[in-house]
Amino acid sequence: MTELLKTNDLDVEFPTRRGTVRAARSVSLAVGPGEVVGLVGESGAGKSTIGNAIIDLLEAPGRVSAGSILFEGEELCGRSESEMRSIRGDRIGMIFQDPQTSLNPLMTIGAQLIETIEKTCDLRGSSAKTRAVELLEQVGITEALPRLAAYPHQFSGGMRQRVVIALALAGDPDLIIADEPTTALDVSIQAQILDLLKRLCRERDLGVIIVTHDIGVVASIADRVVVMYRGEVVETGDVAQVLGAPRHEYTKSLIAAVPRADGKLDRFSSVDYIEGNVEPFQRIDIQTHWLGQAQHERTSGNAIEVEKLELSFVLQKAIIKRNRKLVRAVADVSFEVKEGETFGLVGESGSGKSTVARLIAGLHRPDAGVIRVNGQDVSSSPRSGAARDARRAVQMIFQDPYSSLNARMRVIDIVAEPIRFYRTASNEAETRKIVGELLDHVGLGAQASLRYPHEFSGGQRQRISIARALASRPRILICDEPTSALDVSVQATILNLLKDLQQELGLTMLFISHDLPVVRQMCDRIAVMRHGSLCEVADAETLFSDPQHEYSRHLLDLMPRMDLLGKAEV
C-alpha cells in the first residue's frame, strides 16, 4: 500500500528551565489514503503532540528534535513557515476537540468559510460562496445558503462540529487529523459525526488520523490502531487484533478497564500496568470511627422521594408574563430512591438530569412539586431547621475537578470546612486528625493536606472532592458525571472508590452520567431522561436487556460497538 503520511522515529521535545521534556519518543506510524488510523492513549501519552507536530503547530517551545515526517513522499520537517502554510488547509486539514471554541464567535459561518476557500482554492466572490454552500451540504447541513449569515453561537454543538469539518475540508485536503473530534459531544451526535468522517474518508479517499482517549470511538471508526503510552508507541495493528487480542501489557490492561455495557462486573478493572496506579488504602474501621458515628439504623424506606417536580428557566425576559420565553428544564418528574441503592440518571445534554440533581441538593428551588429527603420535605420550607438537617445528609460531587475546588484554599481547609461549619468535631486537633484519616481513606494520604488543589491531577482532585463530601457525614451522595473529565484508568479507580464507600457506609447514591456502560456497572436502577421528563425507570439489567421506551432503545443503539473486545468475563 502506498502511504499518504509516514513518520519515522519522530522525537518531540519541550525544552523547559527544569530540563527537556520528551513528549514523544521515536514514534513511527503510517496512514494510507482512504484509511482511518486511531491514535489512542491517555492524557500525557503524547498523542495530540504527534498530530500537532505533523502540521507544525506545536505549542512553543516544542520542537521536532529527530526523525522525519514524510507526506506524499515529501519531507515536512524543516519547512519554512510559508511553505507549511500552503500545506495546512490545502493538503492537510485539522479538526479540534471543542466545537464551541474552534470557531471565531464574532464572524459569521459564511465569512469564515469564504475566507478559507479564498485562501485554499483561489476562488473569489460568488463562486466562493457557491462552494461554501456545497461544503455545508456535504457535511449534512440543510438550508445552507441562509445559514451562511448565522453566527457560531446560533448553532448547536453537533452543527458546529459539522461546520468545523466543512472548514477543514475546504481546501480539499488529502489527510485529516481529528484531535478528539467527538469528546465534547453527546452520544447521538458523536455517532453522526463519526459516520460523517467515515463517509468522507471513503468518498474522497481521505487519510484520517483520529486522536482519541476513547476506545469506543476507535472501535467504531478506525481501520488500524496505534496505542501510545508515555510518549512511545507500544502497539500498532489492525483494529480487530489490537482491541480483540492485544499483545502489549499496557494495551491489555487499558482495554480491560473500559467499562463494559454487555455485562455487570463486580469491580472495574484498573490499569495495573501504570506504575503507581495501585490503590493504596489505609482503611479506617468504620464501626468505631467518627465517620461511622452518624450512621443510624438502616431502614427499608426511601432516601429520596421526588414528586411531580417542575422547573422552568427564563430564556427571554419581558414585563408581561405571557410574553416571557421559558424553557422547561424539568417537567413532571417523579421517582424514589431506596435507601442504600445506587440510582442512575441518564440522558443527553439538555435532558435535565443535572438540574434534577441540583434541585435535590437544594441548589435550585422547584417551581412546583415535592422533594423529600429521608422522609423530610425539603422543598416547601427550605430554610427550616429540619429541612437544613436533612440537607446536610445530601452531598454532591461535581463533574469538573478543576473548578469545583477553591484554588486559594489548602486541601486541609477544603475538607475541614464542613466539619468546622457543622461543629461535628470537638476541637481543632480532632478536626485535623479526621481530615487526615479521610484523605487516607480516599487513597490520597494525609500528607496531601497542606498542599493546594493545583498540585494534584484530575483524579486526585476528584478524591479530594469525595473526602470533602464525606466530611459532612452524608447519607446520600449525588455524583454529577464524576468521571467524565478523567482518563479511563483514573475513572476505574474513582468508580471503585465510590463503590467501596457506598458498601462500607451504606450510602444512597444518585449517579448522573451520559455514559451508559459506566451507569450499567454502577447502578441498581436507572431512569432515562429526555427534554426534562422521565422516559423510563427500570432495573439496570432490565433496561439493558429489554428497554421499554423507544428513546431508551435509541440510546442503547448508539453505544459504541464493543464486540471487537471479545466477551466480558462475568
Binding site: 500552503s86 488547509g89 485539522m94 479540534f96 464567535p105 485562501k119 453561537h153 430564556l315 427571554q316
Partner: protein
C-alpha cells in the same frame, strides 16, 4: 435591544436623580449661601430679604424641586464670584476642554492600540520590551511632572512650542475652536500629550494582554491549521475579539479625561472647565461646583450608554440575544 436600552435609560435617570440630590445638598451644607453673597456689613433685614427672594425659607423638598426644574432647563443660577449665569460660563469653557480631550483621546487610541497590537504579536522582540518598559514610566509618573517636564524641554529649552494658554482660536457661534490654526495646534499639542499619556499606556497594556489571551484560543489555532495568513489571523480574527473589554475601559476613561483634566489644565493654564472648577473650589463658588458635578455625572451616564450600545455592534452574541 429596545428593551435593553430603555432599561439602561431608566437606570441613568436614577443615577442622575441621586447625583442632583447630592449637588443640591452642597448649597445647604457648604456654608450659608446668603453669607457668600452679601458683604460683611449687610444688615439683618437685608439678609432676611435675600433669603426670602431666594426661597431659602421654603421646605427643603420644595427647594429641591425648584433646583431640579431649573437644572432641567440648564439653569444653575448665578456664580457667587463672577455674578454671571453658570450655564453660560460652562458653555463658554466647554469647547476648550472638549477639544483638548478629543485630541488626546485620538493620540491615546491610535498610538495605544497600534503599539498594543505590535507588542501583543511580537511579544519577545526587543522593540516590544523597550515599548513596555517605557510605558511603565508613563503610568508611574504623575501627570503634573510630565507636563512640567514637557514645558521645560519644548517651551523653555527648545522654544518650539508655547508653554501655556490657548491661542489662535476662531469662533463659530458660541463655539471657539483652536483646531483650525497652526498657532492653535502648537498650543494644544503639549497639554494633549500630557493628558493622553496615562490613557495611552493603559490602552496599550490592555490591548496587549487581550491579544495574548486571544492568541491562545482554539479558534486562532484552528485558523492557523487552515493555513490562513498571519495578517488575517491577527487583524480579522484576533483584534476584533480583543475589542469588547477595550471598549469598556476606553469609554470610562474618556469620561475621566473630560471630568478630570483638572491637573493638566492647571499646569498649562488651559482655559477649560477643569480650570474653572479648581477656581470655583478655591472661592467656594457653590453654583459652579454643583453644576459641574451634575455635568460630569451626565457625561459618565451618556458614555456608559454609548459603550453598552457599542457592545451590540461588536459582539453578535449580545446583539442576537439568547
Amino acid at each position: 435591544m429596545i428593551f435593553f436600552v430603555l432599561k439602561r435609560l431608566a437606570q441613568s435617570v436614577l443615577v442622575m436623580a441621586i447625583v442632583s440630590a447630592v449637588s443640591f445638598s452642597l448649597f445647604n451644607f457648604v456654608g450659608d449661601p446668603v453669607n457668600n453673597m452679601v458683604g460683611q456689613d449687610a444688615t439683618r433685614e437685608q439678609r432676611i430679604e435675600i433669603r426670602q427672594q431666594l426661597g431659602l425659607d421654603d421646605p427643603i423638598l420644595t427647594q429641591y424641586a425648584r433646583f431640579l426644574g431649573n437644572a432641567l432647563q440648564g439653569d444653575f443660577g448665578l456664580s457667587y464670584r463672577i455674578k454671571r449665569p453658570v450655564d453660560e460660563l460652562i458653555l463658554e469653557r466647554l469647547p476648550a476642554t472638549l477639544e483638548l480631550v478629543f485630541v488626546s483621546a485620538i493620540i491615546a487610541l491610535v498610538v495605544g492600540i497600534t503599539l498594543g497590537i505590535y507588542t501583543g504579536i511580537r511579544r519577545s522582540a526587543w522593540t516590544s520590551r523597550i515599548i513596555l518598559s517605557v510605558s511603565l514610566v508613563g503610568v508611574s509618573l504623575p501627570t503634573f511632572i510630565i507636563g512640567i517636564a514637557l514645558i521645560y524641554v519644548f517651551a523653555v529649552h527648545l522654544r518650539w512650542l508655547p508653554s501655556s494658554g490657548r491661542s489662535g482660536t476662531m469662533e463659530f457661534g458660541w463655539w471657539k475652536t483652536s483646531l483650525l490654526t497652526i498657532d492653535g495646534w502648537r498650543a494644544i499639542i503639549l497639554p494633549a500629550i500630557t493628558l493622553s499619556l496615562f490613557q495611552l499606556t493603559l490602552i496599550l497594556r490592555l490591548v496587549r494582554a487581550e491579544m495574548l489571551e486571544v492568541m491562545q484560543t482554539d479558534f486562532i489555532k484552528f485558523a492557523r491549521a487552515r493555513g490562513l495568513s498571519e495578517r488575517a489571523i491577527n487583524f480579522r480574527h484576533a483584534l476584533r475579539n480583543t475589542l469588547v473589554p477595550v471598549i469598556t475601559i476606553i469609554g470610562l476613561n474618556i469620561g475621566g479625561l473630560i471630568a478630570f483634566s483638572v491637573i493638566t489644565e492647571t499646569v498649562f493654564q488651559w482655559p477649560g472647565t477643569g480650570l474653572m472648577f479648581i477656581q470655583a473650589v478655591d472661592f467656594v463658588d457653590v453654583p459652579i461646583m454643583a453644576a459641574y458635578l451634575v455635568f460630569v455625572a451626565l457625561l459618565f451616564v451618556l458614555i456608559n450608554l454609548v459603550v453598552d450600545i457599542l457592545y451590540f455592534v461588536v459582539d453578535p452574541r449580545i446583539r442576537l440575544g439568547n
